[in-house]
Symmetry: C2
Subunit: 459 residues, 2 copies
C-alpha cells in the first residue's frame, strides 16, 4: 500500500506545485481588515480540498476573528490519533516595492517558488493535506487517525485559538499534535525542533502638541514627540545589547553548562549566518553566542515606529504624536503578562517631559515559551523519518520564533507538539520575496506519508 | 482716486473670497510628483488673473522644478518700484483623516476659510493681486511701480529660485521686496517682522540586515535599525533640550541685554501659547524664554522618522532599515552648510554598531538667517499702514520660520524684504485644518491698497 502512495506522490509533483500556487494566490492577510474577503476565500479553499481528499466532518468553524478549518479521518482503530496543525493566513506583503514579482501571483525561479505565504505556512500546511489525499486515492485509508486544524490567525497571535480549542477539546483529543508550521533550521541539515520562544507585545504612542506644528514657527517651544520617542526607545536597551527594563531577566532560566555545550556543538557558522542576513555585523546581548541569543535568550524588539512626514520630499513639521510597536521573545520561565507589565512600568517611568504616554496592550500576542521532552515518541518518529529521507542524523535545534499553539495544546488538550515543517528558516517569511524551495514540497510529501506509516507500525 | 479703490474692494468682498476658494481648490502640492498637473494649473490660474488685473508682461517662467509666475506694471515714473513676492504651492494635506473638511474643497465655518494653502500662502498672495486689479479697475493705474514674482517651490525650499533670480536680476530690480508670505504673530496685535531664522536640513538612513527579518527567528542576532535610530536621534539633544551636536552653537550671536529686554517686553503669554498648541507642557533649551527659543535660538528638529511596520495590527519584523528627516532653524551667524556638516559628523561619530549610515544631503533647503534694518522705509510704511488699519501701534516681532527669499533678494538683487502678510501664525499651516480668517482677507486688501498709496506719497 505505502509503495503506491510514494509512486502516486512522485507522479503528481506538478499537480502539487500547481495546488500550492493556487492556494498562495489568495491574499489571506489576517492583520488587515481590507483582506476580509480573501481570508474567507482561503478558508473555503482549504475546506474544499479536505473534502476532495476524502476527509470527514469538514467544517469551517467561525470564531470572533477569522475562521478555522477542521477535518478528520478516524477509521484506524488501535492506531494513534494525531492532530495536524497549520495556518492559512499570511503576513502583509509590505513593503510592496521590494518584491521582484507579485507577492500574490507566485512565480517559480531557479527551483524556488516566490510568493507571500508559500513558506509560512501555505506550502508546509498543504503537505499533510496532499499526503492524506494520496493515501485515500491509493489505499482508500490513512495509516493513522488524523485530525486537521488549520487556523487563520497565526500571524496576528492566534487570539481565537484558545476559546476554539477550549470549546472543542473533546473533538480535538489526540495523542499528540504534529505541526506543519515551524521551519527547519537550515537547508543542509535536517533538524527537529525541541523548543520555541514565547512572546508578548504592546504598542505605545507619545503625544505632544494637539496638532502638527510648523517647525519654523514653533520649533524650540514644545517637545518634539519624535525626540521623546527616540529617547524612550533608546533607553529600552543598554549599549551592549541587554534589555534595560527593570526585572526583565528576573525569571530567565539560565542555561546549564550541558545545554550550552550542546548548542555550541551545533554547526552554527557566524560568518555564514552574517552573509545570509546581509548585515554589516552581528549584534546582540553581550556574553552569549549568536545561536544562544537567537534561541534561548529573551529579546525586546521594536517592530515598527514612526511619526511625522516620511514620504518623498520634506515637510517641516513638529508632529503631534509618534508611535512604536514592540514585541518580546520570551524564554522559560518568563511570563508574558509580567514582562509586558514591566515594560509598561519602564515606559511610564522614563517618558520624557513635554509629552504624554498612551500604551495599547491587547495581550493577543501573548504566548508562553515551550519545550518538548527529549524522549517523546512523536519526536523520535520525526527524527527517524528525516534520517530516512535525508540520509543523515537530524540535528536537535531550538526555535527563536513563537508557536502559541504548542502552549495551548499542552494546557488545553494535555498533549505535546512535534514540529514537522518543510520550510527552512532562510526563506524570507515576514519579508519581501518570501520563497519556498520546490524540492522541499516533494520531500515533505514523502516524509509525511512515511511519518504516518512509521507511526502506525510503531503504534 | 484711492477712495474709489476702497469702495470697490468693500463692494467686492464676496468676489474676493470666491476667488480665493477657487484658487485654493487647486491641489498645488509641490513636494509630491503626483500633483504635477495641479501645480501647472495653479501657475496658469495666477497668470490668468494677473492678465485680467491688467498687469503687463505676464509670464509663466519655467524652471528645473515648478514654474514661477511673473508680471509687472511700471507706469508710475518717479514712484518707487516694489517687488511683490508670494508662493502658489502648498504643503501636502497629510494626515488626511485629521481634516474636518476636504483640504481642497475650501469651506467657510465661523468666519474662517478651511483648506490647504488658504493661509500659507494663497490667501496672502492673492491680496496684492486683487489690490492691483482694484486700482486698475477704478483708477486705471497703480500708485507705484510693481513687479510680481510668485514661485511654486517655497514649500520644498525654493531650489529653483536662486538661478531664476540670478537669470532675471535686471528684470526683477526694485527698491525693495514686499513679501505676501510670512504670517503675523498673533491675531490681537498687528506686528511687523524684523527677522527670520535660517534653515538647513538632511535625511539619513540606517541599514542593518539586507532584508526585513522575522523577529522570532532572528531576534537577538543582529542590530535592529530602529533601536539604532532611536539611540542616534536621542543623542542629538541633551536632556535639557540643548542640541548636542559638537560646534552647533559656536557661531550663534548671543542676544544683547537690550534685545532680550525688548523680547521680554512683548505681550507673550506662555499659558495662552500652551493652550493654543495643546501640548502637555512647554519644553526647550534650558535658560531661554519661550519667545527666545522660538525666534532667536537655533533648533534641530526631526520632522519625520520611522521604519518597520506602522500599519494596523502587527508584523513581527526586524526591519532592514530606518530613516529620519532633520531640519534646523538657524540664527545669526550660523551658516547652513557648516551646521549640516557638523550634524553629518555627529551622525558618523555616533552610529551604533551593527548598522551602516547613509546621509542624503541635498542642500536645497539651506537658507541664511535674515534681519531687516530697523529704519528701513518699507518697514516704516508697513508700521504706518497697520497703525491706520488696526488703530494701534504694531509690535516689532521676530519670525521663527524661514523665508529663503529674503536672503536671496539681498544677495542677488541687493534689496531688503518687508514682510506684509495677513495670515496669522495660529492658522495651522503645515497641519490639518489649515484656515485663513476671512476678515484678514478684507483687512489685507485695504492695507495693501493703502501701502502703495502711502509709499507713492512718501516717494
Amino acid at each position: 500500500m505505502a509503495g503506491d502512495v510514494y509512486a502516486y506522490l512522485e507522479a503528481r509533483r506538478d499537480q502539487a506545485l500547481h495546488d500550492l500556487i493556487e492556494f498562495a494566490s489568495i491574499a489571506s492577510v489576517s492583520t488587515d481588515p481590507a483582506y476580509q474577503a480573501e481570508m474567507a476565500a482561503a478558508a473555503q479553499w482549504v475546506a474544499d480540498r479536505l473534502v476532495q481528499a476524502g476527509m470527514d466532518a469538514v467544517e469551517v468553524i467561525e470564531t470572533d476573528g477569522h475562521p478555522a478549518v477542521y477535518a478528520e479521518w478516524l477509521h484506524a482503530p488501535g492506531a494513534p490519533t494525531i492532530l495536524v496543525y497549520g495556518h492559512y493566513d499570511v503576513q502583509p506583503p509590505d513593503p510592496l516595492d521590494k518584491w521582484r514579482s507579485d507577492p500574490f501571483a507566485p512565480q517559480v525561479r531557479e527551483g524556488r517558488l516566490y510568493g507571500r505565504g508559500v513558506s509560512d505556512d501555505k506550502g508546509p500546511m498543504l503537505i499533510p493535506l496532499l499526503a492524506a489525499q494520496a493515501y485515500m486515492a491509493t489505499a482508500g485509508r490513512l495509516p493513522v487517525n488524523v485530525k486537521f486544524l488549520f487556523e487563520g490567525e497565526e500571524e496576528v497571535g492566534s487570539p481565537s485559538l484558545e476559546p476554539l480549542i477550549a470549546a472543542h477539546a473533546a473533538r480535538l483529543a489526540a495523542d499528540f499534535a504534529l505541526s506543519a508550521d515551524g521551519a527547519m533550521w537550515r537547508i543542509d541539515d535536517p533538524s527537529v525542533t525541541v523548543s520555541s520562544r514565547g512572546m508578548t507585545g504592546l504598542e505605545f504612542r507619545l503625544r505632544g502638541a494637539a496638532k502638527d506644528l510648523h517647525s519654523g514657527r514653533h520649533g524650540g517651544a514644545v517637545a518634539n514627540p519624535l525626540h521623546a520617542l527616540a529617547e524612550l526607545v533608546a533607553g529600552l536597551h543598554t549599549p551592549d545589547g541587554r534589555v534595560a527594563v527593570a526585572g526583565f531577566y528576573d525569571d530567565v532560566a539560565e542555561l546549564s553548562a550541558v545545554e550550552r555545550a550542546e548548542l555550541a556543538a551545533l554547526p552554527f557558522d557566524d560568518a555564514a549566518y552574517l552573509r545570509e542576513v546581509g548585515a554589516p555585523a552581528l549584534f546582540g546581548e553581550a556574553g552569549y553566542t549568536t545561536a544562544e541569543r537567537m534561541w534561548v535568550r529573551p529579546t525586546l524588539e521594536v517592530n515598527g515606529m514612526g511619526g511625522g512626514y516620511q514620504g518623498a520630499g520634506s515637510k517641516t513639521v513638529i508632529p503631534g504624536e509618534a508611535m512604536a510597536k514592540i514585541t518580546c521573545r520570551l524564554v522559560p520561565n518568563q511570563r508574558p503578562a509580567d514582562i509586558a507589565a514591566k515594560i509598561v512600568r519602564h515606559l511610564e517611568d522614563h517618558t520624557p517631559p513635554g509629552v504624554t504616554l498612551e500604551v495599547m496592550r491587547g495581550g493577543g500576542h501573548d504566548a508562553l515559551p515551550y519545550r518538548i521532552p527529549d524522549d517523546h515518541p512523536g519526536l523520535r518518529a520525526a527524527a527517524d523519518v528525516l534520517r530516512a529521507v535525508y540520509g543523515r542524523e537530524p540535528l536537535k535545534v531550538r526555535m527563536g520564533g513563537t508557536l502559541p499553539v504548542s502552549e495551548l495544546f499542552r494546557r488545553l488538550l494535555g498533549i505535546d507538539t512535534v514540529f514537522f515543517s518543510f520550510s527552512t528558516a532562510d526563506e524570507d517569511f515576514h519579508a519581501p520575496n518570501e520563497f519556498f524551495r520546490v524540492q522541499r514540497l516533494y520531500d515533505g510529501l514523502r516524509a509525511w506519508a512515511m511519518y504516518w506509516e512509521r507511526l502506525a507500525a510503531a503504534g
